[in-house]
Subunit: 366 residues, 5 copies
């Protein structure tokens, strides 16, 4: 739960704490203006220098951080502040935005569901300069493929706008990734609700617990993300135009909506756990009543039988011809009496387990 790749304690600032298992950097440059698009895989990092000087919008995407020399070289070419460079590669960090003299840094984290069904929250660092956007990803993720295609195909406004629009498009693409994860957790919550209603299996609580854990994690990364986007909107920055802030406000609404949904889901998960526990307590109650019923009826009867099983020589009843039948009669009266008493107290007559109406449709936005 707590991060592990942090630089060594007491390390000097600017130390690059590259995650040990991060792959070798794969650098892709896309450079475009209204008229044309160039796309290049870079082998030798020094080639970036020529891209830097161009006035066209330049997007350098670094996937994998596994070579300190390369990273430092990029930092030098783009004149990155040492703290910015440190932030770019140290994972995990809080989502945030920092303004430096020559560039603005944005850290974003987004949840993804991996092949093994687990949720991970990889981090991407954006560096936004006058003519360029740098993105640093720890691994080879496909977050940005749709944006790359839009640039290539010239769909929408992206080719008409500057690097701030590009940065917006990339950040928006990351925040969009929250939706399927939230959807996934929501489906899980509804499934658990069905189980609590129909067949309250004891592992429901474990699953609610696991779901709440994921919601806690989601909220922990979502909340600073919201704050970071808000800071981008509020702060005066030379790197984001007012025109682009209109778009970013939309992104802000998305992440704010997600955080609200997560909070509602946490509350509902908590309620569901209570509902399950009360269901269990209802069953315990039912079992208690069964036990009490059996014991209370038969214990007196057994006592009566025990009485006449005694071997005293002088027990007048035993010699009576009708004694045996009278005893049976007494027993019947006791049994019926106890049952009636229990029915009077409302302890007999099985009550159906609680029903949970799941009018889920109330929440659809339709």
């Amino acid at each position: 739960m707590f991060e592990k790749h942090n630089p060594k304690i007491g390390a000097r600032p600017g130390t690059l704490a590259i995650p040990p298992d991060s792959p070798f950097p794969k650098i892709t440059v896309v450079q475009y203006d209204v008229e044309s698009v160039d796309r290049r895989e870079i082998e030798d990092v020094t080639e970036l220098r020529s891209f830097r000087e161009s006035d066209r919008v330049t997007w350098v995407d670094v996937q994998g951080l596994g070579d300190e020399a390369t990273i430092r070289e990029i930092g030098e070419i783009f004149d990155l502040h040492p703290v910015a460079l440190e932030n770019a590669v140290n994972v995990p960090q809080r989502a945030k935005t920092e303004l430096y003299e020559n560039h603005q840094l944005v850290i974003a984290r987004t949840p993804i569901i991996e092949d093994d069904g687990l949720v991970r929250t990889p981090q991407v660092c954006f560096v936004l300069g006058k003519h360029y956007v740098l993105t640093f990803q720890e691994r080879y993720f496909g977050f940005f493929d749709p944006v790359r295609e839009r640039i290539q195909a010239g769909i929408g406004a992206i080719r008409l706008e500057g690097p701030d629009y590009l940065a917006y498009a990339l950040i928006d693409a990351m925040i969009d990734r929250y939706y399927p994860v939230a959807q996934n957790l929501s489906d899980g919550l509804e499934e658990l609700e069905d189980i609590v209603v129909e067949n309250p299996h004891p592992d429901v609580l474990g699953r609610i617990h696991a779901l709440r854990r994921q919601l806690v994690v989601l909220r922990r990364i979502g909340w600073p993300q919201r704050e970071a986007v808000n800071a981008m909107l509020r702060e005066r920055t030379p790197f984001i135009g007012d025109q682009e802030k209109v778009y970013l406000r939309d992104t802000y609404d998305h992440i704010a909506q997600i955080v609200e949904l997560i909070d509602s889901a946490r509350e509902m998960a908590s309620d569901l756990a209570d509902a399950y526990l009360s269901n269990v307590s209802h069953r315990t109650n039912e079992i208690m009543k069964m036990l009490t019923l059996m014991a209370s009826i038969f214990i007196p009867l057994t006592f009566v039988a025990g009485i006449y099983g005694m071997n005293f020589e002088n027990m007048p009843e035993l010699r009576s011809r009708v004694g045996y039948f009278v005893v049976w009669g007494v027993m019947l009266v006791v049994a019926v009496g106890m049952t009636l008493y229990f029915r009077h107290r409302g302890w007999v007559g099985s009550i159906p387990p609680p029903e949970f109406k799941t009018d889920r449709s109330d929440e659809e936005g339709s």
Copy 2:
């Protein structure tokens, strides 16, 4: 619980994610000034162009979003910002207000009880321009019929005022819709309280759970609604006059009051669940006492009977003429002793279940 009609991940901004089941747009235009009112159902969307140019107050009501071409055409005629148009048709969204150069956007959601008894929270988008108000509704709702009638009949100030007053009247009409839903939930809460008092059926907890769910949903849409109305009041905007802000403050008070009522109701629902559970635990306790009483009295007696049911040849008591009667005496003493002890400990003598005074009237505003 989580939205589903969101645009595809990585879609470019400005994509219209029209809900797939939204009906074909039905466009109604109402144009009025102090003297006269014109009302037209529009078949061909290009007819709107002529309405646009008028200086009279123009209200274009679009019900149904099921045709992208129509929506885009409207966007073009009224010169809507692409993000505004996207916000207008993408559902569900948070209630909010956004200021663009030529118009102000307001998203509102309101709960309605449908014929099947379920609560839905449809969204309406308002676009407020210099001379016009556009409203986009996903379906054919009757929210605005009373306002349309007031315009037609010239009741009140509506014909004397500009489009901002119209927008206020429409938003106020939507927020009024919260009251019957809140009333409905309140009635449900009081009914549940009666049940907890009189006949604590186990499905009470399920119903409290369902009610809390609805309150969570209501709060989730109500809170941003409050913030949106507040933002309309606070922000400087050329589209809402100070005169109209006086009215909007009233609307703000309504939604603020509703949010406070929802919070109180949630707290009371939570208390009610605790009250029910303690009632159940009281009953379990009662059953336990019954069981303990029966077992504790009869188990020693049965033991005594068991003793004299043994078949030892040499058991002096068995031959005594009064042995049997002495045993009966001993048993009586034991039974009475145990009962007295239990009474002393306060375990005997059924205590009535907890009473819950429901002095509901304390909350009426009278």
Copy 3:
């Protein structure tokens, strides 16, 4: 719990939603300056016009709202904004203050204990103009009698000051009403604490629940009241002088103190419920131990007796002269052994129920 007298949905703004059972308006005018006081019961509402024009401080007290024509006439005479007039008569509303061009509106609600022991939260609306104060009360309440007497008798500064001081005195009189209700709830809380200590009757929980309900209601009206008084202090208003704000700050402290007391009381009520439940769980535990003790001692003994109650022909022990007495010995050993084991485990020896020290005096301000 939710309001019911709200105007019909979609009603145009400015609609007067007069509570249906509100009595006919009884109008009392008090007009005074340093030298003299005039007091008149008004029959014909138009008489107010002459009072309006005076430069002396004029207080128009309207008790009962049951005649729309009268209310509208008053609104016209004092030139009230339509929204202000609507706010004045629509009940219930949140406590608030609104500034209009010619007057300031203040809504206050206060709890009162009625003859039937229930708490109600009536609303009073104050309209504060340059030379006058209007008060609208739904019913005939005696809130303002002490102030009226002070004006009559010329006690204190009231005759020397303007209408803002009068408004302050009236609002202060209303907020003073919180104290006896809070005192009443506090007494109830202490009484419940005694019951939990001495004789934890099961209806305690119901009473705690009812008390918490009242605290929730009290807080729901008290919190906006605090905010409203604070807004009167903070906002620049031509209707309240700096001199009077000194007094209002005192009123603010009162209502703030009350809200803090309510919050503490809610927390204590919640703690008390936990204390009661743990007391109950302690008792269940005691009963369980009794049952276990009885069962664990006698069940093995009964088994032994059962053994020698069998009718096998070949049971050597039965024929032994001392068999019976040996069995008794074995039984004694078992019984003593079990008892010792239980004592060793700490299950025997009744432990007194939890004591709750009620050092209430710690909270007195002395």
Copy 4:
């Protein structure tokens, strides 16, 4: 819990609600400058007039409020605002600071442990003028004795500084009083932790409840105290110099630290209650297991014995020579089987009660 000495409802502002049991005022004046100190017990309140006119720092300490005429006379001599005077003597009030034209008022409350072991929260009112400090105490407290001695002896900077420094020194002396009370509650909490670990007596919960009550009270007085000191720092006031604000910031840190400690302690007390309850539930569980074990083993055995206690004439087993011994064998197998089954389920083998490590030292600041 709620205050009782408040002025009568509807009383005019400025009414002095002197606590009925407050003793007669004992007035001590200390007047000093760098060179000399004068200290006088004042019998006749009018003597104060001469002190008022001096330019030296004058501290008038009024202990006991039991004579309205005296109080009013002091108010007149020092030209106190009526609301200030009212605040000075009405107890209890929230800690606060109020700025008047000629003086600043500070209300402080502090917890003290009285001889009977109870905690009380007396109030002291400070009035800070250009050349003087007035202090009003309800009773004869020794809060200020150390400060008086420092003035007398000329220790530290106190004689070099103005009345604001004196006020700071007095307020600081009051806030220092929180520490021993907090220490006392902390010791109580640790003692309770030991009890929960070693011998979970049922009255632990009552003691935790009582402790939480005190913490609630402490927080209720501590929080406004913090706000009051903060307001003294933030607000522009002619009565407190920047030099003295440096000292006050220190006092602010003390009260802020205390409030944080109280919040932590409340959270820990709450956790401790949960720990105790889980300990109890563990014991109930243990007892249940004992009962189940005994019942499950002996009930079948007793049944078997019962079978062969029947008196049917035709029961072949009874006549077998080895029948009795075979039955013993069967019983042994059943008993061992049940025990093994229970051991397999983990129900046998007493588990030690939960241990609570009390690594208290982790919180020492060392």
Copy 5:
């Protein structure tokens, strides 16, 4: 839990409340510029005077506070404000920053794990002047050794920058200390999760309780630390350059991240306690079912056996040749019937205990 070394109540401000067990001060001076580094252990405190006058960056590290004269001498040499000096040596205090005329004070506390496995939270005070940094530590800690080595070796920018950068480096080194402690608690939490899943030992709850205690402590020191760093960033101060604030923002992010992690961990610990309790309650339920099953099946059978163990002379069944076998048949039917009924109710068939999926990897930042 509450501090103990605070100055005596009523002590005059500026009193040095040196912790009684603090060792004798060990003073180390490091003085450096780009070109060279001097390092000296100071025996006689007056030697500091010469260092003071230098324009090079001077770092005076005081370890141990156990000699008041020395501390006072240092205060005089560096012209420290009395309150600053008091703050420097009084432990424990809240993390904070205070700006004085000639220097800025920063108090930081950090958790360390000591040899005995306990967590302590020692305090370090930084005084930041124009050319110097003073650090006061209560004991001999090794926090600053890495920084000292970096200065010595001239690694990184530290020799090029001023005393503000040095202060940043030192504070950053302290805040880095949070990570291993958080890691340690995180490991403990995961271990507890495994235990709850696999073998819910009753002492789990005690360990969760202890862990939560530590988290409460960690948060109590971490939150003011965050605020203190934030204040250093926000406040205008002549002692910290804008260049250094870029670095400090990074430190702020670290402490903010830690506080968020602590809050998540507290929430998870709380969830884990609930999960454990539900696990226990599941087991109690299982045991209850076992007991009920055994009792409900055998009690009726034993009753039947008891019937035919009675000694009535006239019991026709006893003489029947098949009576015994018929009774066996009846008993079998009853036993099978009860079992089937229980199976129908879902009470038979042991359900596996809840599983808690521990997909911890979801939280790794990878």
